[in-house]
Symmetry: C2
Subunit: 150 residues, 2 copies
DNA sequence: GACTAGACAGGAATGATTCCTACATAGCAT
DNA sequence: ATGCTATGTAGGAATCATTCCTGTCTAGTC
């Protein structure tokens, strides 16, 4: 999704996010990239246009945008944090082999309820579903399980 | 759930997991603890009985048990890895304030299907649902959002 | 145009996890 | 039972994503 500069500006103002060149560049890079990039991937992308950009700025910006509700963090297993510029309610499909993450937007999946007996007094705000399996490209491949211990 | 030593031994043999004092101690500690402890919490628990225990052994054992299918890893946001000795299909309810994780076992939630149009050729093996909200004890409390950047 | 709270760059610090190595032992075969 | 060998263990070093720190800069406002 290609976002115009003024649309980004409008979103920042609407969410009371301070407008800086760096933040706009980072947000644009994230929204243009459907692959759920890591902080470091965004850093390297944005650095091409802003050679002085610091890694710290990327982390701070992602933190600020997340708090503002313009960005969400996606975590797969215990791997490096990934980010998603799509903040509409949706879920994810994750390949066990290559780690690819695909968005799943299905109204059917947005109506789940938890029985109050199970909720144990919890006030449930929402939920996240992670489907896992093998993507089209990796059906043949087997996950490389190599863990070293001694 | 209190597990007898011979039941643990049987499970290890059934899953071809090499039987050592350390592994039994770690597995017993995990199964007895419904709070989804971290590797370090398990380490400190087990260390009381086995003062020579190394942290590395805890990590290796959890890795081996996970590969054997006796243990699963639960990840909340980008926090420290947590472990669950309950490997039956179930989901989690997570408190945004205190981080408490509660198991949700609800047959209704185990029948989700994803439309093939959305699946994009994925071979879906399973899924995991994380409900998030405020637990009974934390309904009043507000999540402490304090992020420092400069 | 000047002020000030907040953002930026650069680098140091943190800390969970992994890697390395020498020693110990479980499980199997004899 | 005894010895063999692959695997596990203890301890400590190394890794590396993320956070913290500090001085400088700048967006937003008056």
């Amino acid at each position: 999704m290609k976002l115009s500069p003024w649309e980004i500006e409008a979103r920042f103002r609407r969410h009371a996010v301070r407008l800086t060149r760096q933040r706009v560049a980072i947000y644009a890079a994230l929204v243009n990239d459907a692959s759920h990039p890591t902080a470091d991937e965004l850093y390297r992308t944005v650095k091409r246009q802003h050679p002085m950009m610091s890694r710290n700025t990327v982390y701070c910006t992602l933190g600020a945008l997340r708090q503002a509700g313009l960005v969400q963090e996606v975590n797969v297993g215990h791997e490096v944090a990934r980010f998603d510029g799509n903040v509409t309610v949706h879920h994810h499909l994750i390949c066990r082999v290559c780690g690819r993450i695909v968005d799943v937007m299905d109204e059917e999946l947005n109506r789940l309820a938890i029985s109050s007996r199970q909720a144990e007094g919890f006030h449930v705000l929402g939920y996240r579903i992670e489907f896992y399996g093998y993507c089209a490209d990796c059906q043949q491949a087997r996950p490389d399980v190599l863990e070293h211990c001694g």
